[in-house]
Symmetry: C2
Subunit: 350 residues, 2 copies
């Protein structure tokens, strides 16, 4: 696999060794206001020469103004193509920092050190970088892989429970894409209460699902859309929640989206109904339900048509024939999507 991913809870020494290997002329660390206090002190001793760039936290700040500040800091502190940027934080930091590095002097190297579960399992691996633009998520960006991604679970104990749940939804998705054995193992494990080393083992299995897919299709021309499982409906739920002024976490939206798209998989691809019921029950137990009525259908359908990966305004989905057996770019008609939303509501006791 071309992008190096290291799974370890010895983050400080691993990062120091990676920097020693890359021999940068200068080291920069990008972090946010939440992370700098609780994570950076653990690593600072190993990186005495690093210049720390701290940006405001949160997806609202994943924008051009913040990006400009990062470019400016790199420039002011003499960054060159021989320098390395370490992105230390959640998905917001690794996405924005990866884009800053990919475009500074047409490309400097970067290392991702995700500190959240969602960042580790999704954003930090696979070469997608970017920022939001005019409230459209990840509208501006590029495909550029980090030199190295250092994945650990040692910072998870500082995360709120809702963030662990949010990341776990992507792990559910990877389990569905992987194999029956892996999926069974994941459901049987209690990820949230497992210790850091047990979590790391589960996380490694999950991240490797994404890595195998990305390696085959780095620029999302086809197969990579498998990773979009749960996201077409999930994004629509997110947009609707935002419109209601009651935003929901991305991972929760994905969990609910997985249920709706597994219903679609059952209708269109004969995905086994027992597996569908089991998934719906698991999601309901962990995440509760996202409440919708049929009055919301027109808005949800509109959001699905505008999805970045959609073509010609159709409803496009990645669906499952079975666990580990995905079909990408499957077009559904409007009535089928509405039926799936009806069944989603039944399964979620709405």
């Amino acid at each position: 696999m071309p992008q190096q991913v290291i799974f370890t809870n010895a983050v400080a020494t691993t990062l120091a060794a990676e920097l020693d290997r890359l021999q940068p002329n200068r080291v920069f660390v990008l972090t946010d206001e939440n992370t700098v206090g609780c994570v950076w002190p653990e690593l600072a001793g190993q990186l005495p020469q690093a210049t720390v760039i701290t940006i405001p936290a949160g997806d609202d700040n994943k924008n051009l103004a913040t990006l400009s500040r990062v470019w400016q800091s790199l420039q002011d502190n003499g960054a060159t193509r021989k320098s390395v940027l370490v992105n230390l934080g959640g998905g917001m930091v690794t996405d924005l920092g990866g884009f800053a590095a990919a475009t500074f002097k047409r490309g400097m190297r970067f290392i991702n050190v995700p500190t959240s579960l969602l960042g580790a399992v999704d954003a930090a691996v696979g070469g997608k970088t970017g920022i939001n633009f005019n409230d459209l998520k990840n509208e501006i960006g590029t495909f550029k892989e980090a030199e190295t991604v250092i994945i650990s679970t040692r910072f998870f104990s500082t995360l709120p429970e809702s963030e662990l749940k949010s990341g776990f939804a992507e792990m559910l998705k990877h389990g569905l894409l992987d194999s029956k054995d892996a999926y069974r193992h994941l459901l049987a494990s209690d990820f949230q209460t497992a210790d850091a080393e047990q979590q790391l083992t589960l996380l490694e299995q999950s991240v490797n699902v994404k890595r195998r897919i990305v390696e085959l299709d780095p620029c999302e021309k086809g197969l990579r859309r498998a990773l979009n499982l749960g996201h077409t409906v999930g994004h629509a739920f997110e947009s609707l929640a935002l419109h209601r002024n009651r935003p929901i976490a991305h991972g929760y939206a994905v969990a609910w989206g997985l249920v709706a798209e597994t219903v679609l998989s059952h209708i269109e691809m004969q995905f086994p109904s027992t597996l569908l019921y089991e998934l719906a029950a698991t999601v309901y137990r962990i995440y509760g339900a996202f409440p919708i009525t049929c009055d919301d259908y027109p808005a949800l359908l509109r959001y699905m048509r505008h999805d970045k990966k959609s073509e010609h305004g159709e409803y496009n989905f990645s669906l499952l024939r079975d666990i580990g057996d995905v079909v990408t770019g499957h077009a559904c008609d409007e009535e089928t999507v509405k039926t799936a939303l009806d069944i989603y509501r039944d399964l979620m006791h709405i």
Copy 2:
């Protein structure tokens, strides 16, 4: 060669055929206020569905504010990854437009149609895209090749003489990097007064020198620095002229830089003196001289140390052993650079 480059003076029909091949869902044309009036009317008939985005002309506008406006226009008009952006203009338009396309939704396709000689011979081919940032040229950007570059000479008759001369300096550089025969042929031709078809033949030979080098080293890790010939001193001359509030055209700076760096090549690499004298006389005849005194040396040396491609603050040059025989990344000491500037002044009758 991976990037398609078409040399033709039938621009409108070629562009229409290329768009037909690429089958975009929408076509956008990026152009500037100078180009839209004199060039676009020739092509508009073949592209009835295109959305035209016009930006202010000039390198001063190759910045983040203009880039944002282009992203905004693409977004407002429904551009997707299946759309194509046609960059129609000089190097400013192809650099900024290429970067806008490379980063919009993580990458849409683009076609470059350079309308200036400098744009055709340099900016439009080779995958460098970008914008200026805080007065540093091309500080932010990426490497991304156009789907197709359509190179013609049919718009050159509208260019002022100084712009033709500016582009011709890059042709001189390519001739020096190419072979004795090609260089002789170029000096013997009177490019400025040749007709459009003769110009196109010379231009094709020149552009292919760059293409051969870029193909071997697309991301400027080594050999591509050969194309930097004349530019380390040339950029320093440009910066000094800017500091004097009397800016000079990039191509003129390159022509003078070629003389200074050929002097260095003679000192360090035994480049033949007869060829040096001939080049100096040619440059003096076409461009006159850029006036410097030894009081300017400290500033010039400082600019050379800050060149984007320099490492560790050394003086780094691409130099010639002979025509067609280049050495990249050659470090010179300060005294040698000063000596070369002394000889440059002699050769330029300053």
